[in-house]
Symmetry: C2
Subunit: 211 residues, 2 copies
Amino acid sequence: MTEGGPVARAASPRTPRRRRGPRPAGADTRAEILAAARSEFAAKGYDATTLRGIARLAGVDPRLVHHYFEGKDEVFVAAVEFPAVPRTLVARVVDPGLDGIGERMARSFFDVWDNPVGRERLMALIVSVLSGPGAARMVREFLTREVFVRVAAATGAQDAQLRANLAASHMVGLAIARYVLQVEPLASTDTETLVELVAPALQRYLVGPLP
Amino acid sequence: MTEGGPVARAASPRTPRRRRGPRPAGADTRAEILAAARSEFAAKGYDATTLRGIARLAGVDPRLVHHYFEGKDEVFVAAVEFPAVPRTLVARVVDPGLDGIGERMARSFFDVWDNPVGRERLMALIVSVLSGPGAARMVREFLTREVFVRVAAATGAQDAQLRANLAASHMVGLAIARYVLQVEPLASTDTETLVELVAPALQRYLVGPLP
């Protein structure tokens, strides 16, 4: 993940083009939208939260939310500081086709985790998920809608969503063991070697033959 | 993990047989040993901590520590409320041989996580690991010494410890996705189906051909 990647884009403020609606757009407007978003996502989960509801809670015109963010996924990414826009990441993994999909998935995961900022944000998110069912629900619904459903649609395999669950959870465990627990020799094995080692397992989960 | 399993055995106090050493063994002695152990493990990690050092900090005769616990691993298991004695768990997985080792590993993992008490303790341990390098070091050294080295010794494969890392981290990720995040359909898929689905990946990591 480079500075020009989805993280930076989702996090950088834009200058508002229009100044309509119940209150003028100021430097704090985006921050207030994000505060309202955090509150709504935590209370209602990802699926039941709407951009209109976030705007209402923030006391701004809904068009302002659309002005700052391209969709609910980008609001969520900015609100919880998720280190990537899943839509972008998933497209990079699935768009070139089923051949090599496991390898691309492994590499994309390590890309995000190899970045210290991305790693810190993911670790904070895992802590929040472990802290209670509210955060778990929010993250679960977000990942299901924005990652698993997209990957499943792309592979079209039987049990495609369970397959996406298996592959993604494998990578999450690897990341925790490698970057958080720093268990050896996993932690000091270079990324490309690991991509080679785990790609066949991911490939099988995503599109290979299962019992 | 049943009530008569390793958890209960490691956690239940025994009546001291002897009353020698610098202070008499009382109802609080075991608790004081465990408090000293937590302090030593957190400060020095698992490897550098000794039963003698724990006894010194607790102000008891080292023989008392040996009286309550069979070894450093049992002291650690009781001190951090780890939900299983790895020595026992690893033996169950590796002793019957390499054939089916992946399947037995998957089933053993799910057994611990399917128990609500075991799950709660593992989640607390993951939170502590995420909270700082001290806890991460302690858990890393414990798992390396008591799990990975033992599994590696049993399989005797090339890169055996990296293989054990890969297999175990896969299961940790699965457990987090299934029991903590509760992502669907993974969370409601029955354990035996999951064992069948993941066993081939574990089998390959532990003893199969790798690139």
